[in-house]
Amino acid sequence: MDLLKETQLEKLMNKNIGNRKNIFYLSLNDLDKIKNTKNITGRSRYNLHKNFKSIIQEMLINFNKNSYVKPHYFIKKHTIFRLIKGSFRIKIYEQKKVRNIYLNQKNQMLIIKPKTMYDIISLQKNSIIHELMEGPFNNKVFKT
């Protein structure tokens, strides 16, 4: 996993649309507006949590088709993915096999337990995923 220098991280985070509000709501149209703010990874996001210390880090991420997050895992954190729009393939790397999970019309949501290696790829243009993770945010494991 690549570790980012702080300045790189700030640059990337500035491209994300953050939320400092106590009351916050979004429509699908709002989410379409961020499709043109994608960084070099082909992704852009709305953060719904108030800050990096929030107990739950919650975001909506707009992916270009084929935008890919390399295999990684978290030692103590669950990751939750819920499909909002489009489709995704998530590979779960188990001890002796790889399980392909598709978030599409068939599957609504996936909860990944700690210490589980996974990757994720968008299979359609402007696919949107709702991601949740336990906070606080740790920039050493930040995935661009």
């Binding site: 916050f24 709501y25 107990i55 739950i56 996936l110 993770m133």
Partner: protein
């Protein structure tokens, strides 16, 4: 109510499974039920599928010092909330707003507008008893 399909490392919420749960809920005569997706009360992410009949009625309330995320899965909701002394409203459905998030103690009221409305609710954990404050309490 049983939750998602569970494997050693993951849980999957399948749409067919969810549709079955909604059917059971419709037949049950209950005004409200939930599918708990987190593993236990200690989890920092408390995540639930909430199912409501139109007749559901719960007063303005908030979860004390917890963030609360509410996003529509099926149907339509009216959300009333208090902001700067005024009551404001938003409509939550796939055509309007899809997600409503509170990052502070804000009184709000959930009004299901469809015969059956379903939402995903996410609260900061761990679960604490008596952590909901109702208005005028």
């Amino acid at each position: 109510m049983a939750a998602s399909t569970s494997y050693k490392k993951i849980n999957i919420l399948e749409n067919s499974n969810l549709r079955d749960k909604i059917k059971i809920f419709k037949k049950s005569g209950k005004k409200f039920d939930r599918i708990v997706l987190h593993e236990n009360e200690e989890d920092l992410i408390q995540i639930m599928v909430m199912m409501y009949r139109k007749s559901f009625n719960f007063p303005f309330h908030y979860s004390i010092n917890k963030s609360e995320s509410f996003s529509v899965i099926y149907g339509k909701f009216k959300i009333l909330f208090k902001e700067k002394g005024k009551i404001r409203k938003i409509i939550l459905d796939k055509k309007n707003k899809i997600i409503f998030k509170l990052n502070a103690n804000v009184f709000h009221k959930i009004i299901p507008l469809s015969d059956v409305s379903v939402a995903l609710e996410i609260l900061d954990g761990p679960f604490k008893r008596n952590s909901v404050r109702k208005i005028n309490e």
